[in-house]
Amino acid sequence: MATKASASAARLMMAPAVTLLLGWMLVPLVMTLYFSFADYRPLRGAFEPWIGFENYERFVTSSSFWDAVTTTLTMVGGILVITVCFGILLALLLDKPIYGQGVVRILVIAPFFVMPTVSALVWKNMMMDPVNGILSHVWRFFGAAPHDWLVQTPTLSIILIVSWQWLPFATLILLTAIQSLDGEQLEAAEMDGAPPLKRFWFIILPHLSRAITIVILIQTIFLLSIFAEIFVTTQGSFGTRTLTYLVYQRVLESQNVGLGSAGGIIAVILANIVAIFLMRIVGKNLDA
């Protein structure tokens, strides 16, 4: 029933949002693309607008690129495995009838609201510090030598910190999905004598598959650009340099804008591969 007048009014109402986002997406991206083909090092006053694919070649062939890719994949993969597995277990647990459910829920969700710089610093100093951290107190209590987390196992440490932050997100989404499960189906299975593990495997898990996919995709997009957690803990040293951090270092720390921009474009392409899958799922949902 959209009349012509209201249709053009609708276009007018959308115009600011669409224009702004279009500008936000295109202007900087075109600039990055332009810089990525240039020899641009502002501190040395070097600017040579066209050097072809040299930046890309140098970026991709340097060993730090492949290290960064490996680190990124290890971190994202590790965090995904931890958050999804524990997220499922926690969601199942929170779905049980428990005393003080509301309070437990808040305790579990709280880490998500802690700003990244705080959670990184708190873990670094209060939990993982080799002298004063709680974990080293625990280690000493059991008679073990304290572990210097961020020096001896830096990648694992960052995986743990970020997993702690994202576990609530996975748990909440999976809990929402579990609660939409038809209880009668489970009861019927229980009456037919299906053991808990089978009920989980054949009824709950298939029901959760879509929610799990969404958790994985959304987290991947956010996790590909984790920054603050590395910035305040290891500054990218000890093999914790992700692709995002590598590009940041090239661009802002060593001010090799051309090289960094080529890396940025590569990061954009990689992120888009994940994004396409997510968009398909969300798009399908729009029709429903």
Partner: protein, 276 residues
């Protein structure tokens, strides 16, 4: 689904859930507790959980030494400003898409979502350069605009999913009863849209408050919000655990409280309506 559960099983599950909940919450709890200790108690071994001399000294020192209030104010302005600006721009857009959908509405929504997936680092230098050229590096206005743009897709999406739940028949009924467009918007639609707008504001305020890529890279002194303030504690200087804890507690306390109210919206907002 009210199934009879033996109280023993319930007690067992409750115990497990509480232990795990407290373990997950522990880093936050420990930080809050440590913020009330003196520096020497903060590094005591073995540490004491609650039996220490409670003091507010750290909070005073943090405020005096680093002017915490200024960072707090910057956080409020940046998170609040970007959210309000975003909502102002997004409400008409989401409104049009929900009530006047066209063939292209879906594509526009998906395209908006796709801008959210652009890794920030890919456009770091251009934005940095633009800020320098415009003379807005380390200014609150730049961050308000940038964080607004970052969260705009989420704001539009959330509002869209909320608006779509408002039944169109009500509008028609109001029209039949002779309501003008103005009173239709004012008295019929707005009351129904307010809860959705409120949850959107809440979630986006939280996201903007915690944003730590642009706030770290585009601020130095005058516009630095709490994220940057806390990051400045990353190099330890002597006895500082209790003060770090006090600073951290102050930075996260307001959001923990807001977060409590936003649990439900969190799922909806961050999954773009795919999980409700």
């Amino acid at each position: 689904m009210a199934r009879a559960v033996s109280s023993r099983a319930r007690l067992g599950w409750s115990a497990v859930a509480w232990v795990i909940g407290l373990l997950i919450f522990f880093p936050i709890l420990w930080t809050i507790l440590t913020s009330f200790k003196t520096e020497s108690e903060a590094i005591a071994s073995p540490p004491s959980l609650v039996f220490f001399d409670w003091t507010l000294e750290n909070y005073e020192v943090v405020q005096e030494r680093s002017n915490y209030a200024r960072f707090l104010w910057n956080s409020i302005v940046i998170a609040g400003g970007s959210t309000l600006l975003g909502v102002l721009i997004a409400v008409p857009a989401a409104w049009a898409m929900a009530f006047q959908p066209t063939r292209r509405t879906k594509d526009i929504l998906l395209w908006m979502l796709s801008t959210k997936m652009l890794p920030a680092v890919g456009v770091l230098y251009p934005i940095y350069l633009i800020c320098i050229r415009l003379g807005v590096l380390d200014s609150k206005i730049a961050l308000v605009v940038i964080l607004m743009l970052i969260n705009l897709p989420i704001i539009v999406w959330m509002l869209y999913t909320y608006f779509r739940e408002i039944p169109g028949e009500i509008l028609e009924a109001a029209r039949m009863d002779g309501a003008s467009l103005r009173s239709e918007i004012l008295y019929v639609l707005t009351p129904m849209a307010i809860p959705g707008i409120a949850s959107t504001v809440l979630l986006n305020f939280i996201l903007a408050w915690n944003e730590a890529f642009w706030t770290l890279n585009l601020t130095a002194v005058s516009a630095a919000p709490l994220t940057a303030f806390i990051a400045s504690y990353s190099s330890p200087e002597g006895l500082f655990f209790a003060k770090l804890s006090a600073a951290s507690t102050m930075a996260i306390a307001p959001i923990l409280i807001l977060g409590w109210f936003s649990q439900k919206q969190l799922v909806r907002g961050l999954t773009f309506g795919a999980v409700k």
